[in-house]
């Protein structure tokens, strides 16, 4: 029983980490129809910036929002310098499916190399702002620490706030309209360029939070080649796809399901199977619902 509860907590905890990245990817997808594989790189960069800020200020709580702001700025810059031109040339035809992916992969490589230039390829460390020792119930220490709780609450807060923005505010409507059909959005008086930049900026901020939180929640160490970030990227993307890409709650749902299934497999079956199960889960979900948990199907065909 205790093990089962722990399994749930571990799964949800892991899911919340995937959710951080999935949210950022969904944000970019929803505001520009690009799958941003550089998201992990941008999160990594923000984490390094956060590291510098923690060094300078000595306080994680100051560093986090500052890193988010800088992450947003960087992300906005990427949108202005790269994505705009990219989209102009490759919105239609066969290249539309693959070129943005390759471009963001290129950007990922670029960011990694830049980080290596500046900070070297060795690990840097950030100390966690909260205890990572699990809460105690009597004798039992459960698999939920204040640090885990912070991550969970951040995910919750992000989904609520961003979900509200997307679904209920005019900014959200502008973001969606600009993504789906820029020309019509323009004709409706929306400053499409600026709106997309804002979309990327929000994703950049979310990505920065993802990077920093996952780092301090994990080992506390990062390097440009850190496996954690590669996994965060791929599992975050898988979670977003399972969730349906169109919806933030979907992304979180996808992430939590992924986290829970993997935790259950690791604890009750075998840790050997995680990667296979991740694939199997994705396949299974998409076979039943090709548009993910909360994705929407295209309207009518003719």
């Amino acid at each position: 029983m205790v093990q089962f509860i722990n399994m749930l907590l571990i799964g949800i905890g892991a899911g919340s980490i995937y959710a951080l990245m999935a949210i950022a990817m969904v944000l970019v997808w929803r505001s520009t129809r690009v799958i941003n594989f550089a998201q992990a790189g941008m999160a990594l960069l923000s984490t390094y910036i956060g590291f510098e800020l923690v060094q300078k200020t000595g306080n994680f709580w100051i560093a986090l929002p500052l890193a988010m702001i800088l992450g947003a700025l960087f992300s906005a810059l990427v949108e202005i310098l790269l994505i705009r031109t990219l989209i102009k040339h490759s919105t239609s035809g066969p290249v539309a499916g693959i070129v943005p992916i390759i471009a963001t992969l290129g950007l990922l490589g670029f960011i990694r190399a830049m980080i290596g230039f500046i900070w070297g390829n060795q690990d840097i460390q950030i100390q966690p702002p909260l205890s990572k020792v699990g809460f105690k119930f009597g004798e039992e220490t459960i698999s939920l620490s204040p640090m885990n709780l912070l991550v969970l609450l951040s995910v919750l807060a992000m989904v609520l706030v961003l979900g509200f923005i997307f679904q209920k505010t005019s900014l959200g409507l502008s973001l969606r309209a600009s993504a789906y059909s820029p020309e019509i959005a323009q004709l409706a008086g929306i400053r499409v360029g600026a709106i997309r930049t804002i979309g990327w900026a929000i994703a950049g901020a979310a990505g920065a939070a993802a990077g920093l939180l996952q780092t301090v929640n994990g080992t506390g160490a990062v390097s440009p080649d850190s496996l954690e970030f590669s996994l965060l990227l791929t599992f975050g993307f898988i979670a977003a796809v399972i969730g349906g890409l169109e919806s933030l709650p979907g992304a979180v749902l996808g992430a939590v399901v992924l986290g829970l299934v993997l935790a259950a497999v690791q604890i009750y079956i075998s840790g050997t199977l995680v990667f296979i199960v991740a694939f199997a889960l994705l396949l299974l979900v998409l076979l039943v619902r090709p548009q993910g948990f909360i994705g929407t199907k295209a309207g009518r065909r003719a």
């Binding site: 409507l173 020309e183 409706a188 008086g189 929407t296 009518r300």
Partner: protein, 236 residues
Amino acid sequence: MSLVVQNLTVDHGAIRAINGVSFTVETGKLSAVIGANGAGKSTLLRTLSGLNKATEGSAQWGEHNLLSGKPESHVRSGVSHVSEGKSVVAELTVEENLDLGALWRRNKKEATETKQQVIELFPRLGERLGQRADTLSGGERQMLAIGRALMSKPNLLLLDEPSLGLAPLVIEQIFQTIRGIVDSMNLTVVLVEQNAMGALKIADTAVVLNLGHVATSGSAADLIADPAVRAAYLGY
């Protein structure tokens, strides 16, 4: 305020779509632009709304230079464009598409009022507010596109083939409505139509485009009477 287009020339790469076009539309007037397929009608409207870049010439809407600036800033100065081919955002609901047109408007109460007016104009849209636009029928989408443009409370409305795909009764209604808005709200309209007869009947003035040139222009009534125009564009 009036719309003054002078010597406008627009190229699509190597193709010259509009060649030295000049015409004027006075405030509160409805001007029809007719011509065969490929005459350059859509290009003309797209240039006026900032979607296409002009090669030469000028286009003024009162003080506002229509040839500079982005489409979104034109909208904010009161120029609304319903582009050709059911320009709605397929993934959004009907209501969201309508709201989209008024997003930039500060006065939300007025925007809500406009929405009511649009829904009165197209009751079908009212029944479908929560439905995704890509599930609408062809004609319903056309209504939505016009509705969205009206949501911006334009004073210059550029309509590209609004009758396309609409039922005869609705076309009749829409033409009457457009005439009605022009008269009651002092709206200025440039109406591009394949349905030349219908358009000329409600228009004050008209421009006939042929291969990017102005073939003739003048008052709508004169053009209806012109046997050459009748033969070429009105089909009898």
